[in-house]
Symmetry: C2
Subunit: 153 residues, 2 copies
C-alpha cells in the first residue's frame, strides 16, 4: 500500500540537510511506508530525552507499529500554530489546560479531558497553564520522527 | 479491505444474546469492519460512566476512528487473566503499578512507564497497587465496545 508523502516529508526531501545515518534510515523507512516491526518494549518517560522544540515546548514519544504515544510539555503561553496532518489524533490532558481553535470553534480542554481530532482537520492551540499533554496518533507522525516538524520549531 | 473476525466477535456471533438495538447496530458496524466516522469530540473522563467489570476492575474509553483510548482502574490484587487480541496495544501507567507476564518474561510497569504490546501477544497482568492505567489500541477493541470481553467479567 503506497502512502502519500506529507508536506513535511516533501519539504524534508527538498531540504537535503545532512543527517546522521541512523536518522536517514529511520526517515527512509517511514517515508517509504514500510511497516515498523511490532516489538514488546518497556520504557520509562524519564529515560527518553525531552526534545526542546522551542523554549516553551518539549516533547518525547514512544512509537509502536501503528500507534505513537507522545508526551508533550507546554509552558503557559506556548502557542502551537495552526497545522494539520493526515494522522488521526486523540489528545488527553493530564495536567493544565489547552485552548484549541478547531473546526470554527474555540474549545478549552482541561485536565482530565480528551479531544478526538479527525485526520486533516486544521487546529491551533495555546497553553493556558503549564500543561502535560498526551497525544496519540495513528499512524505515527513521520514528521515528528524525522524532525521535519518545522511549524513547531 | 476485509478484516478477519476476532475470536471475541465469533463468540459474540455464536452467543446470540438479546441486545438493545443500539448495541446491535454498534456490534454489526464493528464486526463488518465498516470505518467509523471521524469526529471532533471533546469529552471529560468524569462524564463517561465507568463500567465495573468485576469488583476490582472498572473501565471507560473514548473511541476515535482507528484509535481507542481506555482508562482502566484496577484495585490492588486485580488479575487480568491471560488473553491476546489482534489489536496493537500501548499501555501507560499513570498511577500505581502493573506486573505483566508476557513473552516468557515478568515485567513490572510502574507509574510513568510505558509498555508496547504487539498484536496477538498473549499477556496476563496483576495490579500490585491501586492503579490508573491508560491503554491505547489500534484498531479499537471490538470486544470492549460490544461487551463481549468475557475474560474480564
Amino acid at each position: 500500500m503506497k502512502k502519500k508523502k506529507s508536506k513535511a516529508q516533501e519539504k524534508s526531501a527538498a531540504g537535503k540537510k545532512t543527517r546522521p545515518a541512523s536518522k536517514v534510515a529511520l526517515r527512509d523507512t517511514v517515508a517509504k511506508g514500510k511497516p515498523r516491526p511490532a516489538q514488546l518494549r518497556h520504557v520509562a518517560w524519564k529515560s527518553i530525552d525531552v526534545e526542546p522544540l522551542n523554549p516553551l515546548l518539549g516533547l518525547h514519544f514512544v512509537v509502536g507499529q501503528n500507534i505513537m504515544l507522545a508526551r508533550v510539555l507546554l509552558k503557559k503561553g506556548c502557542i502551537v500554530p495552526e497545522h494539520s496532518h493526515p494522522n488521526e489524533q486523540v489528545t488527553f490532558i493530564a495536567e493544565g489546560a489547552l485552548k484549541f481553535w478547531i473546526d470554527g470553534k474555540e474549545i478549552v480542554v482541561n485536565s482530565g479531558e480528551v479531544l478526538t481530532i479527525p485526520p486533516n482537520m486544521p487546529h491551533k492551540a495555546e497553553a493556558l497553564e503549564d500543561t502535560v499533554d498526551f497525544d496519540v496518533f495513528n499512524p505515527p507522525r513521520a514528521d515528528w520522527m524525522n524532525k521535519t516538524n518545522s511549524y513547531l520549531r
